[in-house]
């Protein structure tokens, strides 16, 4: 009888655990599906502004361009058709407003009734023209040629070098600068946090007097609980001016500032996890080393660190994970220029900062909005890779240790 009750009890507990486990997994999966479904509609869409088309003279050899090229043309950075595969002729930009340079208001007509004809004439008379015009003013007698703009695709999105999602006439969505910005800032953050964190962990686990450790440990754990705006604020007030003065820069908001702040933020994770790992080194292992005449430091570097390397790696990777996903502090100190970083002393922009900064102004369901969701997916995939790496490393080390 008693046995029966405990059996049923066990079954209930098992069922509860099972249910809560599956609910959590389902929620996670739903979130990912949501992110993806919100964003995926972007691919295959045309980045040209709704209701507008690009037109060129009918003699123009160029028949299609990608968004980046259009952006450069309209910014005046490409001034010759040769650069985009055409003949040697300079580019003449034409927007709807420019029509008044060519025709008087009477010629166009009070209600723009002659506008289609005028547009047609302009495009026909200037061989090097590129015109950004409303679709509704193009009639069947239009003598120009419609320029095809490449649709958004995954390759172009991930590898594109320009991020101007609100640019006119064509939105340019190349996430490469954001991707590299994220990796760049995180990489240097970890480069700086890992040695420091490891040194602190070793100090706490092996060198510090227990009382010192008992003070230090909660302080470091507290560091993990400080909201990231506070870190950002600290960065803005202390680190940014410091960098600006030290390196004599026009602005101090740089990748370097972001790396330092992220490094500081990753420190508690790295320290706590590595310290725990170091402390799990069996006493017998340390004694074996000391009994062979090794001194304390030799024991630390030759036995303790190798023994706890899996824990240390896990700490570092989780620290990276934190750095990659961090938003607020980075947004505040990196200067947010979406350019591919060459040095540490340039402004950069990370994926999370981009999402945070732009989601508010992107109209729901629009191209820009969708692109931000895809950025979210990219971020998710990066963190997933990072976590799988942790899993892999700890599993491999478990095998070695047993």
């Amino acid at each position: 009888m008693k046995k029966n009750i405990s059996y049923i009890f066990n079954r209930i507990i098992t069922a509860l655990l099972y249910i809560s486990g599956s609910i959590t997994s389902i929620v996670v999966i739903l979130i990912v599906i949501f992110l993806f479904s919100e964003g995926v509609g972007m691919f295959g869409k045309n980045p040209t502004e709704e209701g507008f088309i690009m037109a060129v003279n009918k003699t123009n050899k160029v028949s299609h361009l990608d968004a980046e090229q259009v952006k450069l043309l309209f910014d005046g950075e490409i001034t010759n058709w040769q650069k985009v595969g055409g003949i040697n002729d300079s580019v003449i930009l034409f927007r709807m407003d420019n029509i008044t340079d060519y025709f008087t208001e009477e010629q166009i007509g009070e209600n723009f009734e002659n506008l289609p004809t005028c547009l047609s004439k302009v495009v026909d008379s200037i061989p090097g023209i590129i015109a950004f015009v409303g679709k509704k003013y193009i009639d069947k007698n239009f003598v120009g040629k419609e320029l095809k703009i490449e649709n958004i695709n995954i390759g172009g999105f991930l590898m594109g070098k320009l991020w101007f999602p609100t640019a006119q006439p064509v939105a340019v969505m190349g996430a490469l600068p954001l991707l590299l910005g994220t990796l760049w800032v995180s990489f240097f953050a970890i480069l700086f946090a890992l040695p420091l964190g490891l040194a602190t962990a070793i100090y706490m686990a092996e060198v510090a007097h227990p009382t010192v450790r008992n003070i230090l440990k909660p302080v470091i754990e507290l560091l993990a609980g400080i909201p990231s705006v506070v870190y950002g604020f600290f960065g803005l007030v202390v680190i940014v001016p410091f960098i600006q003065n030290t390196f004599n820069l026009p602005v101090g908001e740089t990748a370097f500032a972001g790396s330092i702040i992220l490094g500081i933020m990753a420190l508690p994770t790295i320290i706590t996890i590595s310290e725990d790992a170091i402390r799990t080194t069996p006493r017998s292992m340390k004694e074996a080393s000391l009994a062979l005449g090794a001194n304390h430091w030799q024991t630390i570097f030759r036995v303790i660190i190798p023994y706890s390397s899996s824990g240390i790696t896990a700490g570092a990777i989780l620290g990276i994970g934190r750095a990659i996903g961090e938003t607020m502090a980075v947004l505040m100190v990196t200067g947010n220029a979406a350019v591919i970083p060459n040095t540490l002393l340039e402004p950069v922009r990370t994926i999370p900062a981009t999402i945070a900064a732009e989601l508010g102004e992107a109209s729901q369901g629009g191209l820009h909005y969708q692109s931000l969701f895809i950025l979210g997916c990219v971020l998710f995939i990066i963190t997933m890779i990072v976590n799988l790496a942790v899993e892999f490393i700890s599993r491999r080390n478990k095998r070695v240790a047993s």
């Binding site: 074996a288 000391l290 009994a291 062979l292 005449g293 030759r302 036995v303 190798p306």
Partner: protein, 250 residues
């Protein structure tokens, strides 16, 4: 002239008086067995001889320990030098998470020796002396964890031999092993006696009788009796010794 001399040793773990007035001398190239019930201070005494107790907080030690006529608790003694002279083998095999080769080479490397040929020669010789060579010669680059418990313990002995100590301390070296591995270790101890002075803690009376020349019986921190092994086992002077070796307590 003794190899090891301990005079009027008192050792305290905080308030706990773990060793009481111990006076014990050991000659070079002998095997001394330390026996006694659990908690009587055998390990504590053993760890006194290579200053392993220094790692424990709140330990207080009184008295003198002379090794080769030198007080090892004197100020200015280099502990790592001492430990190179006094090797130790622990109760549970504790190889490093390194290859078999690197385990044995460890003591040499931390000693600052980097001559590859010399290290290799010493590793091979130590493994041979620990009667492990034939079993591992084809897998020196494999992890030490791949060995059996008995092999691991002999690896730990080889590791201790590699730095050429003159004294080897063994704390129940065979207690975690099967009878065959135990027999191998005992044989090994017998062979090592020619070159080393050995102090071994054991709970196994037969083992003490088989391997040791002298036996010391400890009881709650005191040295009750210390004599030739044969004498202790055939003609104990103290009633408690008698009770212990005949298995009436402990």
């Amino acid at each position: 002239m003794y190899k090891i001399e301990t005079k009027d040793i008192n050792l305290y773990y905080g308030d706990h008086h773990a060793l009481k007035n111990i006076n014990l001398q050991m000659k070079a190239n002998t095997v001394t067995a330390l026996i006694g019930p659990s908690g009587c201070g055998k390990s504590t005494y053993l760890r006194l001889l290579n200053r392993m107790n220094d790692l424990i907080e709140n330990v207080r030690i009184e008295g003198t320990v002379l090794i080769d006529n030198k007080n090892i608790y004197e100020r200015g003694i280099k502990i790592d030098e001492l430990r190179k002279k006094v090797g130790m083998v622990f109760q549970k095999p504790n190889p490093f998470p390194k290859t078999i080769f690197e385990n044995v080479a460890y003591g040499l490397r931390v000693n600052g020796i980097s001559n590859k040929d010399y290290i290799e020669e010493r590793v091979v010789r130590s493994l041979q002396n620990a009667v492990l060579w034939d079993e591992v010669k084809d897998k020196l680059k494999k992890s030490a964890f791949e060995l059996s418990g008995g092999q691991q313990q002999r690896l730990c002995i080889a590791r201790a031999l590699a730095i050429e100590p003159s004294i080897i301390l063994m704390d129940e070296p065979a207690s975690a092993l099967d009878p065959i591995s135990t027999a191998k270790i005992e044989e090994l101890i017998y062979e090592l006696k020619d070159k080393y002075t050995i102090v071994i803690v054991t709970h196994n009376m037969q083992q003490a009788a088989r391997v040791s020349d002298r036996t010391a019986f400890f009881y709650i921190g005191e040295l009750i009796e210390y004599n030739d092994t044969k004498e202790i086992f055939t003609n104990p002077q103290n009633q408690r010794t008698q009770n212990y070796i005949t298995g009436r307590f402990g």
